[in-house]
Symmetry: C2
């Protein structure tokens, strides 16, 4: 068989299953934490201007216009920023740059399933540390192994998915101080929280902060992510990335997006208001909902007679797609994205009928 020529690490991974992508109009998508609003008009104007300039030439290899704009907005130097084709591109670059065969990558569980996959593709191992019942992490998360295993990289999503909960900056700084390796704080949802870790990067070079335009800038279709790190690290990571990993249109659009902080703040206010409504109504329906700092809520019904999977299927049949998550020993639940008020309210009305039947 031809595919026996491939690496065993790859063959051992389970088959590729793309996420549920209903055709436009078939369902209301509340399952992948996309932003329900249209990005800033300035972004779409920048895309059309970039197209008018033409695409015959290679783009800027380091996405320099974005680096300069983001450096201003976030109060860092451009040399502290690396751009990627989505934050997944940067997670791939990071894993390949720090982790070698037989070494260990640590991650919090339950969180983004890609972290473990990336470790396995490198021929490495994943040390999965479970969140405590209050969604904090044990202090051991910030410590190396004492049995000879080599810990080379730590991924910490903050706010976390699916819980929407956050760890404090003090906790993360303390982890970094005791860890033998870098810790990447994946801040995909940080724009919906009250604080973030960008200023910690200057305090401790072991801290890196990862961002995306997919959620808070409403640009999941654009594929653009960026990393804050010590310039000495950025310089090395740039050798690992594809030469032209961000295209000319994405660079122009991302630059316009990050320059329009008024749009982002106004969008954030809308998302947070809808998140409050969603949280309150889910709690009224009897769900346990941790206070969310992201653009989704994590909903677990404490009644053993209530099946999360059945609810997921009930909603799906009626046109609302939410995310059913089954983490095995860590339990299961429903992750529901914050859409517009109208989308969430209609889904909740449907869910109320489920409980009244």
């Amino acid at each position: 068989m031809i595919h026996s020529l491939l690496r065993p690490d790859l063959l051992a991974l389970p088959g590729y299953v793309p996420g549920e992508q209903p055709r436009a109009g078939e369902a209301v998508k509340l399952n992948t934490n996309e932003n329900p609003y249209r990005a800033s008009d300035k972004v779409y104007e920048a895309i059309k201007a970039a197209a008018d300039r033409g695409l015959s030439r290679y783009p800027n290899a380091m996405a320099q216009p974005f680096r300069e704009a983001a450096a201003e907005v976030y109060g860092v130097s451009p040399e502290m920023i690396l751009c990627g084709n989505g934050s997944d591109d940067l997670l791939t670059i990071l894993t390949r740059s720090f982790l070698d065969r037989g070494q260990w990558l640590r991650l919090a569980k339950p969180s983004y399933i890609l972290y473990k996959t990336l470790a396995l593709l490198q021929g490495g191992h994943a040390d999965e540390v479970r969140f405590l019942p209050d969604w904090t992490l044990p202090e051991s998360f910030g410590q190396g192994f004492d049995d000879g295993r080599q810990l080379k990289l730590v991924y910490l999503p903050n706010p976390n998915s699916p819980s929407g909960t956050v760890l404090s900056k003090e906790t993360i700084l303390r982890f970094a101080e005791t860890l033998p390796c870098p810790i990447v704080v994946d801040e995909a949802y940080a724009d919906f929280a009250e604080e973030n870790c960008i200023d910690l990067v200057k305090k401790n070079a072991k801290i890196m902060v990862l961002r995306t335009l997919s959620k808070s800038y409403a640009l999941a279709g654009l594929r653009f992510g960026f990393l804050f790190a010590d310039p000495a690290i950025i310089e090395q990571l740039a050798k690992m990335k594809d030469s032209y990993n961000c295209d000319a249109i994405a660079i122009a659009a991302a630059t316009a997006a990050v320059r329009d902080q008024d749009w982002r703040q106004a969008n954030r206010a809308k998302i947070l208001a809808t998140r409050r409504r969603l949280t309150e109504r889910m709690r009224q329906l009897g769900f346990t909902v941790p206070e969310s700092h992201a653009n989704f809520t994590w909903n677990v019904h404490p009644d053993a007679g209530v099946s999360h999977k059945e609810i997921y299927l009930y909603l799906k049949e009626r046109g609302w797609l939410v995310r059913y998550m089954d983490y095995g020993q860590c339990g299961d639940g429903l992750r529901i994205s914050v859409g517009t008020d109208e989308q969430n309210d209609a889904m909740l009305d449907c869910l109320e009928k489920y409980f009244k039947k």
Copy 2:
């Protein structure tokens, strides 16, 4: 030092040096084989339509609309096609999927320098096989090692850069039949040649064919590449790629591009006519120029008193940027992209003055 936490393979690589990118208007770029013409209007219309549909949602994970369009155009099934964020993305995916630490990747020399870099980043080795003086390869290129070394992947650019020369399909099929591993035919420039290897993929599953929209579709700024391979291989490679490696705008633009074969044929005719003029005038100036099957020519002056580097600098000072290539033992020369007639003629007029001075 913080960067000592990175993988030694990465630290050992030379520093990242982006290609020469003069600002718009500062120089005529004849150094990176970009297409001098603007892509089909249909491509730019598709970009604007995709922007109007909005970018809040994640794109299609497999770039399915492009796969279906390209399958029609090239006479294969969609399952034989994998799309990438430029062909560099696919080269990275291929190298990571087939090559493990300590194993060997074979490449022809001189050719695309990225191949070797990718092998080293995997902790692998590069077996660099030199072209013969007539730009063919020794028969040993198609044979495994007999000393226990594990050959896991072969890269063969066809047409080759910098030479612009081609190997016949018969030769490539013969290589595949005797090799113990897959051979990737990198056809970045094949649209400017007389034949290509796409139909060989069905004849021998060890043959894969890599394409890009950067050259013959005038879309270097878009970042879009695609691979033809056996469906069983594509299925595995899809597990290695980032989930959403092609953005929504690139998918729409690429689909429009591949559907407009009239544009591509007309563009090809213009490039080939200019290539003929360029080749003839360079030969008149005394250069040895192999017959090119790409959108550039390789120019070596046989007179030991002529310095290729000096010519490169002379042209650069006067506003023409060509590519000076120094391959050490394999010699040096000038690689000149096919621009418009006007661009190439003006460069040649300048070069004539150099030889008359």
